[in-house]
C-alpha cells in the first residue's frame, strides 16, 4: 500500500498544473464582454482562478509529501504531529 501511495503522489503532482491550465484555458475561451452568462464574466474567473491556484499548489504539495512517504504512517497522537 505504501508503494501505491508514493506512485500516486506523482499523479497528484501532475494533476495540479493540469487543473490550472484548464481553468485558464476556460477563462480565455469564455470571457466575453458581450456575453450575459456567469462564465462570460471576467471578475468571476479572476476570483475562481485566484482561489483555485493556491488549492492546486496544495494538491502539488500533497503529491510531493505522498511521494516522499510522509503518509506511509499517519500520526497516532498529537505528539507525532
Amino acid at each position: 500500500m505504501n508503494s501505491i501511495k508514493k506512485y500516486l503522489g506523482i499523479v497528484w503532482l501532475l494533476l495540479a498544473p493540469i487543473v490550472i491550465f484548464f481553468l485558464v484555458a476556460g477563462a480565455v475561451a469564455n470571457i466575453d464582454a458581450a456575453g450575459k452568462k456567469d462564465i462570460n464574466n471576467p471578475i468571476i474567473w479572476i476570483i475562481i482562478i485566484s482561489i483555485f491556484t493556491p488549492i492546486a499548489i496544495g494538491l502539488m504539495i500533497f503529491g510531493w509529501y505522498a511521494l516522499k512517504g510522509e503518509y506511509d504512517h499517519l500520526p497516532e497522537s498529537s505528539e507525532e504531529l
Binding site: L8, I39, I47, I48, G58, P75, S78, L81
Partner: protein
C-alpha cells in the same frame, strides 16, 4: 474530564451549538434563495457598477471570504476560546442579515444600496467561515470518545435544517401575498431577513449561559494554548500534511456531494424540469425532513465502525447514481408528446405595454399530459410600437409543470436518496476532523479545509456545471461530471491514504 459532564450539560451544549449554527446557515441561504428579488432591488440591470457589486456579493462571499473567515475566527478561537468566538460569529451573522433587510433599495439611495448590501454579505461570509469549526469543536470537546460521532452529528444536521427553515419561511411568506407585494421595495422578501434577529437573540442568550470548552479551559489554565495558531497549523509540516489530507481525502468530496444533493437538485427541478415553485420546494422539504435523522444515524454508526468507510460509501453512491437519478428527473417531466388535444382549454390572455410602448401579449394555456403532469404553455407575442422594426415577435415555452401524486412522491424519494448520500458523507465528518488535529490549533486547522471543501469545491458546482453545459450542449447532464469527478478523486485519495481508526483521546 468527560466524566464530570452530565447528560443535561451535553444536551445544553448540543442545543446551544446546533441552534446557533442552524440560524447562521439560514441567514446565509436566504440571500441566495432571494437573489432574484435582491438583484432587482439593489443591483439593477444596465448599471455596470451594480453588476460588478452583485457578482462580488454572490461569488466573493462564498469563495474568498468564507475561507478567510475560517482563518480569522479559527485563529481567534484557538487564542481566546471557542465560546466567545462562535458567539461573535453569531452576532455578526445575525446583525448583518437583519441589516440587509433594512437597506433601502437602489431607487431610494442609489449606489449606496448595493455597496451596503455587498459589505453586509461579505460580513455574512466571514461569520459563516468562523462558525462551523467553533460549534463542532465545542461539542466534540464536551463529548465522550464513544459518542463523539453521534453528538457532533447534531451539528451536521444544521446546514440541512437551515436550508429547510429558509425554504419553509420564504415559501410561507410568498404564498401569503401576491407577487407584486412580495417583490416590492419594502415587500415580503424582507421578512425572512427581519425574522433572523429574533432567532439570533434567542440563540445568543442560550450561548451566553454556556461555559467554555473544558479541554480549552484546561489548556489555558496550564498556559499551553498556541501563540500563533496559523503558523502552527500551516507552516508546521506535521500538521499541514494532515490539513491537506483532510481537504483532498474527505472534505473536497463531501462538499460536492453536499451541494449536488441539495442545491443542484433543487435548481435542476426548477430550471431544467420546469416544475412549479411550490411543488419543487415541497419536494425538497419532504426529502430533507425524511433524510435529516440519517445524519444522526451515520454519526452514531461512525462511533461503532469508524468514520472513513461511511463517508467513502456516500461518495461512491453519488458517483454511481447521479446520472441515472437526474436522467429520471428529465425523462419523467418530458412533455413533448401526449398533449390532450381533444379537450383544448382556453388560454388566459394578458396584454401590457413596456417602456418602449411595445405591446406584449402573453397567452397562458393549461395542458394535461399522458404522463400525468399538469403544465402550461406560455406564448409571448410582441407588437412593436416602432413600425420600422419587425412586424412582431413570438415565442412559446412550457412553464409551471405540476406533477401527479405518484410522480411527485417518486421525486421526493429520489431527492431523499440524494440527501441520504449527503448524510453519509456529512454526518461523521465533524468528529473525523476534530480527531485529526490537536486541541491547541483545532479550531484553525479544521475550519480552513472544511470551508475550502464546502464553500469552494461545493460552491463551484453551478458555475462549472454551466461551463460544461455551454461547452457540450448536447448532453443536458454534462454538468454532473464535475461533482462526479471531484468525488471520484476524493474517494481514491480517501480510500488509499485515510485511516479508519477512531481517536479515543482528543485531549492532547
Amino acid at each position: 474530564m468527560n466524566q464530570t459532564i452530565t447528560p443535561k450539560t451535553i444536551r445544553s451544549v448540543i442545543a446551544a451549538s446546533s441552534v446557533g449554527t442552524m440560524i447562521e446557515w439560514y441567514d446565509f441561504y436566504i440571500f441566495g434563495m432571494l437573489a432574484k428579488t435582491i438583484s432587482t432591488q439593489f443591483f439593477p440591470e444596465g448599471n455596470a457598477t451594480a453588476a460588478l457589486l452583485s457578482t462580488l456579493a454572490i461569488f466573493a462571499a462564498g469563495f474568498i471570504v468564507r475561507p478567510f473567515g475560517a482563518l480569522v475566527f479559527g485563529r481567534l478561537g484557538d487564542l481566546i476560546g471557542r465560546k466567545y468566538t462562535f458567539l461573535l460569529t453569531l452576532v455578526l451573522m445575525g446583525g448583518s442579515t437583519f441589516l440587509i433587510g433594512l437597506v433601502p433599495g437602489y431607487k431610494t439611495i442609489g449606489i449606496a444600496a448595493p455597496l451596503l448590501v455587498l459589505l453586509l454579505r461579505l460580513i455574512q461570509g466571514l461569520a459563516l467561515g468562523g462558525e462551523y469549526g467553533g460549534a463542532a469543536t465545542y461539542v466534540a470537546e464536551h463529548s465522550p470518545a464513544n459518542k463523539r460521532g453521534y453528538y457532533t452529528s447534531w451539528i451536521q444536521t444544521t446546514a440541512t435544517l437551515g436550508l429547510f427553515v429558509a425554504l419553509g419561511i420564504i415559501m410561507l411568506v410568498k404564498l401569503n401575498m401576491p407577487d407584486e407585494q412580495f417583490n416590492a421595495e419594502w415587500g415580503g422578501w424582507r421578512y425572512p431577513f427581519w425574522i433572523s434577529i429574533l432567532l439570533v437573540a434567542v440563540s445568543v442568550y442560550i450561548r451566553l449561559k454556556m461555559a467554555e470548552s473544558p479541554l480549552f479551559s484546561k489548556l489555558k489554565a496550564e498556559g499551553k494554548t498556541s501563540i500563533n495558531p496559523l503558523k502552527e497549523s500551516f507552516r508546521h509540516k506535521g500538521n499541514f500534511k494532515m490539513v491537506l489530507l483532510a481537504l483532498f481525502g474527505a472534505v473536497m468530496g463531501q462538499g460536492v456531494i453536499w451541494y449536488t444533493g441539495q442545491f443542484y437538485a433543487q435548481n435542476f427541478l426548477e430550471t431544467k424540469c420546469n416544475i412549479e415553485f411550490e411543488q419543487s420546494r415541497t419536494i425538497m422539504l419532504w426529502a430533507i425532513a425524511f433524510a435529516t435523522p440519517f445524519f444522526l444515524l451515520f454519526g452514531w454508526l461512525s462511533d461503532k465502525i469508524g468514520r472513513k468507510w461511511i463517508m467513502m460509501l456516500g461518495m461512491l453512491l453519488g458517483i454511481l447514481t447521479y446520472r441515472p437519478i437526474f436522467q429520471t428527473f428529465l425523462e419523467d417531466t418530458e412533455v413533448v408528446s401526449g398533449l390532450n388535444e381533444k379537450h383544448p382549454q382556453p388560454g388566459i390572455v394578458k396584454i401590457h405595454t413596456d417602456n418602449k410602448n411595445d405591446s406584449i401579449i402573453t397567452t397562458t394555456t393549461p395542458h394535461y399530459s399522458i404522463s400525468r403532469i399538469h403544465f402550461y404553455t406560455q406564448k409571448t407575442d410582441t407588437i412593436y410600437a416602432d413600425r420600422s422594426m419587425r412586424a412582431g415577435h413570438s415565442q412559446e415555452k412550457i412553464i409551471n409543470k405540476k406533477l401527479g401524486q405518484s410522480l411527485y412522491w417518486k421525486f421526493v424519494g429520489l431527492v431523499f436518496l440524494l440527501i441520504l448520500y449527503v448524510t453519509m458523507v456529512y454526518g461523521p465528518i465533524a468528529a473525523f476532523l476534530v480527531e485529526m488535529f490537536p486541541t491547541r490549533i483545532r479550531y484553525t486547522s479544521m475550519s480552513l479545509p472544511y470551508h475550502i471543501g464546502n464553500g469552494v469545491f461545493g460552491g463551484l458546482v453551478p458555475f462549472i456545471g454551466l461551463l460544461l453545459t455551454t461547452s457540450y450542449p448536447a448532453d443536458p447532464l454534462v454538468g454532473l461530471w464535475y461533482p462526479i469527478g471531484v468525488a471520484a478523486l476524493c474517494l481514491v485519495i480517501g480510500v488509499i491514504y485515510l485511516r479508519n481508526k477512531i481517536d479515543k483521546d482528543v485531549t492532547d
